[in-house]
Amino acid sequence: MVSNSITTASMSSGPNARDLGKKKRANRSAKLKQCKLDARREQWLSQGTAKNKGCKEEQNDGVQSRKGVNSSLKNLETSSRGEEMEGSMLIHQYSDLDSPANSPTSVTSSVLGGSTDSGTNFTGTSSGSSRSSSSSSGGYCSGNITEDEEGGEEGGGDDGCLDDWEAVADALVAENKNPCSESSPECESVAELVSSREANDGVGLGGVDLKSECPKMVLRGACGNSQAWRPDDAFRPRSLPNLSKQQSLPNPDRHYSGGAGGVTWGCNKVVSMPTSCPICYEDLDFTDSSFLPCLCGFRLCLFCHKRILEEDGRCPGCRKPYETDTVEAETSVHGGSLTFRLARSCSMIARS
């Protein structure tokens, strides 16, 4: 490839030089990617051989032919399975610590799992898929699990993960000795959906969660949950944190519609909120945007507020002098206008 492009570069005339430069760059990056993937596959293989016994080996062999694109997903699943409870607990903790968005997903999965009528399903699936989903979702969202895994997953967002997942699903079915025979075809169809969606989104967010969802859907007859998840998937790339926050509500089906409404409403509010300080035009960070010094609702950054207090101490919005204890008034009176705070209080109410 590279030599080809170089020769063509030397052959070609001036105007084409740019394209070729691009090609070269692309080639280089592809090569780099390939190198990384190879390294990762080796690492994973060594891990896998250390940890896996029995059926895993077959999967590994099968996957090797697929150029290691799926290695990361495998890696996650195998590692989470191999390390048993410790690994999964660690991963759960990570996701809890890293971002508030992640914790609800893991919480929900456990909650939902706990509420499933047939406990065997859940325990069976949870050993593989749900655990892996929690870990992988952690990797996607926060990127705080090791870099290898995350990078690998980006690579694994390609078409390869479909086949890989099917293999895993088959293995799962075999392991669980599940009477539900139609599970794998349905799963496949869902997986295809997933892959197409991933291709659209470029990020495999919906895909991973759906995968974890798939066995549950199939095994539970799936009406309520699948319907509740579909709109969710459409929204997912944009507002994943909020949605997963909403999912942490106790009974998902009831609260979901309300939750979705709340989310869109919240998004609108975010859009309407000023993103930069009207005084200095600097961007408002989180502290600034949750800072409401005056009852008139005029927002400004903390720096400008301080400068104004030093100068004449009047609110730029209403020209009334700032009160000294505005911070208390902020939470009580204008709590509704604070989107972030609102979202948090919602989830807190739901939890208690």
Binding site: R307, R314, P316
Partner: protein
């Protein structure tokens, strides 16, 4: 001061970006000094200033936006709240009612509003104020129109 400079740069960018947003106002910054601005504003319609183009000069203080900019008319204008000789403007938002939330653009808008709604009770131009206060609307309008034509309109060949 750094803050005023940064803010003026941001305002400059904003003005460049939304040049066509307000067709009545043309704000421009001095090439060498960001604290000196000039603006061209069109006289509001249905006033004696209609059809005229008035030039404003802004002198922005170092404490901007905590302190208001000093604005004056470079173009002669017959208006009760504008000093006929110096072009000084008597406008509350340029004095005690200033708010840092105002921008140079919004000051221009306020001045256009002042042109449409003169305040004869606090006159800088006593002749103009007296005309209005005595109820001689017609006299005021003809004077203002004359000065608009003399000073704020391109000379016809």
């Amino acid at each position: 001061m750094q803050a005023s400079r940064a803010r003026l740069f941001k305002e400059y960018k904003e003005v460049q970006r939304e040049k066509t947003a307000d067709p009545d106002i043309q704000l421009a910054c001095d090439d060498s000094n960001i604290f000196k601005w000039t603006a061209l504003i069109k006289g509001p319609s249905e006033t004696p200033y209609e059809g005229g183009v008035f030039q404003l000069a802004f002198a922005v203080p170092e404490q901007y936006p905590l302190q208001p900019p000093q604005v004056r008319f470079l173009t002669k204008i017959f208006h009760p709240n504008v000093h006929f000789k110096t072009g000084e403007i008597c406008l509350d938002i340029l004095k005690n009612a200033w708010s840092p939330a105002w921008t140079l653009q919004s000051v221009c808008r306020a001045i256009i509003a002042l042109m449409a709604h003169p305040e004869p009770d606090s006159p800088l131009n006593c002749d103009s104020g007296n005309l209005l206060r005595s109820g001689d609307i017609r006299g005021f309008q003809s004077m203002a129109k004359m000065y608009t034509r003399l000073a704020a309109m391109p000379k016809k060949g």
